[in-house]
Structures are given as structure tokens and as C-alpha cells.
Amino acid sequence: MADSSDETTTEEPVVDEARSALLEAIAADLGHDLVGSHLLPGKDLWIRVSSESWGATAEYLQNHQQFRFFNFLSVIDWLPSPYGRSNDSAVEVSLAQAAGESIEEADQTLGTGYGGGSTRFQVLARVHSLTTNLGLTVKADFPEDTLSVGTWVKEYPGANWHEREAAEMFGVHFAGHPGLTALYLPSAFEGHPLRKDFPLLSRIVKPWPGIVDVEPMPEAVEPPTAEPKLSPSASTENPQDVPS
């Protein structure tokens, strides 16, 4: 996944001087705390820092790199969902059949995003610099045993609610947060809704009808094996105009 920037670089070699310089400066300052990075020239920059240095990164970014605007903080659960995707996999299977693709078994290996990472939960935050007008997405892995990283509230007070939301939705912990109580959910709520293994109850009760449930037209004599909309000609390899 980390190599997907090749597509843009092969067409025209875009050199993003501002972001490259920023990445070099950060790499020089953080040293071995910077464990991964990803640069999409002309678009965006991702860095990944070690779990222990997550809290200190906020201080560094604010005071040494002029990232004064706090944009958001959240968490990604990289576990492939046993619920959401499998419910929709009926659609995907019929699509793959129609397109003549081989159907792959759902594998349960953890995904990784830009900047790499090896744990299930990843914290990500975004800050913006008004002096250079550049945004930066910072990531860090949550340690599997404690699920805890440092807080950003001291440097960016706006992280307070974002961390509360992340904590209740993913069941993670931010050490040093002044009051990590539930933000949205009622206090008696059990579970962490945005985790991938938390079922979306409405889908369990009634499967999503989606496009598989479309009834055939009355004059259709033979029972259609695939939906008209899913005909092989409509596969991604053969793009066609979308009807206006």
C-alpha cells in the first residue's frame, strides 16, 4: 500500500519541495522516534511515530514546527470486520462472478495504512500549519497489551473531546487525559461501537437488501442469474458513461 504513490510519480515526476523539506526536518529532529512516513507529492504527508513518543510529538509539532491548528484526532481499527463486510459480501461475490474474477476467501490479517504499522489499533491526528499552509497526518500504534498512548490535551486542548470520543468508540486509553468519560454514549453502554468486531445490530436483525433484492421486470421470462445492472460489460475494466 505504501507504494501507491508510484502511480502519480510515473506519469509526471511531481517534486513536492515543501513537503519533502518538512519531512527531512522532522526526520532529523525526531530521530529514531520517526518509524514510518509516506509522501504523496502535491497532495499530503503522513508520518508515523513510536507509541512512547506520541505525547511528546504534540509538543514538538506545536513549538518547533509551527503546527498551531489542531484539526482532528481519531483511531483506526485495522481488523477486517467479521460483520459489516461479510453482510455485503453477497453483493461482492455476485459482482466478482459477473466480472469473471476469482473469489477470494476473507482473510483475517490486519491491514496497514500509509506509514506502515503492525498493531490492530492506530491513533491518527492531523495538524495544520498556517505559516506554510501544509497539513500533516501523524500516526502511532497502540501497544497491544495496554492500548494506551499519551494525551495531546496539554498542547492542543481541542484534543480533549476527540480523545474522549476515540476512547469510548474504540476502547483505548489516553494517559494523562483530565477526564476520559463517555462523550456520546449513555454511561451504561457496553462495548465499543466503532471496533470492527462490534456488530451493527440493524444489519444483524435484517440483512441489507442493497441491489441484490431488486425484483426482475414482469416480462422477464427466465429467472435471471445475475442482475441486469451487474452484467459483465459493467465491470471496472470497461468503463462506460454513467447515464445522465
Binding site: K43, A234, S244
Partner: protein, 390 residues
Amino acid sequence: MTAISDRRQLAYIAAQAADARVNVELEAEGMTLNIGPQHPATHGTLRIVARLDGEQVVEANPVMGYMHRGYEKLAEVRTYPQVTALINRIDWLGSFANEVPFILACEQLMGIEAPPRAQHIRTILFEMARIANITLFLGDMGVQLGAVTPIFYAFRDREHILNQIESATGGRFHPNFDRIGGLKDDLPAGWIEETKRSLREIHKFCDQMDDLIIGNEIFQARTRNIGVIPPDVALSYGLSGPNLRASGVDWDLRRDSPAGLAYDQVDWRVWTHPDGDSFARYWVRLQETRESCKIVEQLLDSIPAGPIMAKVPRIIKVPEGEAFVETENPLGVMGYYVVSQGGLEPFRVKIRSASFSNMSISPWLLKGAYVPDVITILASLYFILGDIDR
């Protein structure tokens, strides 16, 4: 008893105000005031638990979640085109503006770009969503201060814009008009002239609000130097949009990163105000509404010819990757962090909504405020509950 000098008296008052901000020893004697969840000043169901010392707020804690709909979870089980129907409901007063950053994020992941005509019309509808949204604020702020008339003008004149949005998209509030790679449809015949006419109504409305509210002595007394946010605090809390520009920070994504929209083709300016108080936030929004009208008027005259849809596959699969795209929405910076694993549905969508960050400053801001000012400060921050709770 000798009178203390003015200087000392002022220092004394300042010390008292500072006490109210930090003094938690008094809380045992204080009174708790529960504002909401059903309160007309909260535009929905926001509850604020305020601890008072006399007339001053010692501590204010917003309680949210009465409208939490879990869009981030729902987006994970819907295909990319289906997601736009959901996110229309985040900021329901400027719905079209919610769709644009998500569509732009998908387009960035897929490596496609909408044709110039589509970008142009997108920008027009984006700005009309802003006008429809902020018009209501301009009238509503009067209601919070006891002036009932402006809100009726606001509803009357917003209708002109909503009618135009409806005739172009088919939806008054939830257009669901933006598509990955372009737009659902072209503009109907005669729409441009009609829109110009309705913009003239909005110009008139802005002048009326200038007279009725900005020029009103009571309004000025109730908002000047109330709820002051210094620029550094605003930035570290993630305030954005007019709230940030009212604190003197000159940052507008429409000007600074207009990728995918047509803002760089028109002549307009970004308004800021140095004061950072409730009055500044109203003033900036009023100027911005006029500016939006100017933007739309110029764009209406220069719509390029061409298709409104790029070549996109009929079944949209987004390649593996991550993208974050933010735009300057009516309420502030709104962005979507989209993680794709190459399937039909997004793997994760993080919705960065403006009101959530704008409201997160309220515990800091309401400390030391007087009870009647709580309402004006909240109204001047201007939030939509759907944008906080998502």
C-alpha cells in the same frame, strides 16, 4: 471611606473575574443550572450543565449524544455512492456542502477529476448552501437577544435560495446531487437568471440585517467584548471558519487550497475581525454572506461549456489508500478521512465536522461568563447539533 482610584478599582474587578474562572472552592455553595436538552437556544438537543456562583458561570459542561447517529459506523457498510445520502444529514442547513469534501476525497483516491463545468456548478451550489445556512444564523442571533423580527426576514429570504437549490437538484434540504466524477444533472433552463434575482434579495436582506442588528445599540452592548477568543486559543482548540476569522486569523481554505473547486477564478476577499468577541463573529458572517453572493454572481456569468461527468466506472471501486480532504464549509472546516481497502465500501470514514471542534471551546469560553451571556456566546459560535453529534 476614601474612594479607591479607577485603576485599582479596575484591577479589583479583573481579579474578581479571574477568580470566577479558576475558583473551584466556591462550588459547594454554587447552584447548578441545567440548560437544555430542550432549549430554544441550542438548535436541537444540546444540554449544558452550568455551575453558577451568583450570576457567573464557574464551570460549564456540555452534554452531547442526544442525536448521535453513528455515521462513521454506518458509512462502513454502505457503498461509496450511498454514503452521500447519509452525510447530507450532518449539517442539515447547508447539506450540499457536506457532500463535496467526501466526493473530493474519493476522487483523489481514484485519481479522477470532475470536468470544469461540474467544478463550477459545484462551487455555485456550495456557496448557495452557505448562504442558506448563514442567512438563518443572521436572523437567529436576534432571537437569542430578544429581537424577534429578524428571524422572520431570514426565513422569508432563505426561501429564495432554497427554491433555487430545489429547482436545480430536486431537494430543498438534502440535494444528494454530487457524484464521484461530476454531478447528477445539468442546471435547468432559466436557472441562472432566477438565481441572480434571488441573490439580489439576499443582498437586500444583508443590508436589512446591517441596519436592524449591527446598528442596534442593544445588540452591540450585549455582544461587544463578550466571549472573547484569542487567536492562539482558537487555533489550539481547532476552531475554524468564521469563528476563527473573527479572532483575526486570516485563513480560509477557499482561498488557500481551492483544489477541486472554482474559487481561484473569481474575485473576492476574506474578511477578518481583530476583536474575537460575539460581535465580531456576527460581523464576519454578515460580510461573508455578501462575499458569497459576489462569488456566485461571478460564477454564474462564467460557467464553461462541456460535460458534467467524468468517465467513471459504473460500479465504483475505490483503490486502496487513504485520503483526507477538507473544505471551508458554512460552519467551518469540514473534512473526511477516507480509508479504502479497495472494496465497494469505505473501510473507515472519519468525519471531521466543524461544530464539534467549535463547541469544544465552550467549557473554556463560558467560564466566568454571566448567565444571559451564555446564550449569546453559544448563539454566536453557531453550531448545528447534527454537526456535533454526527
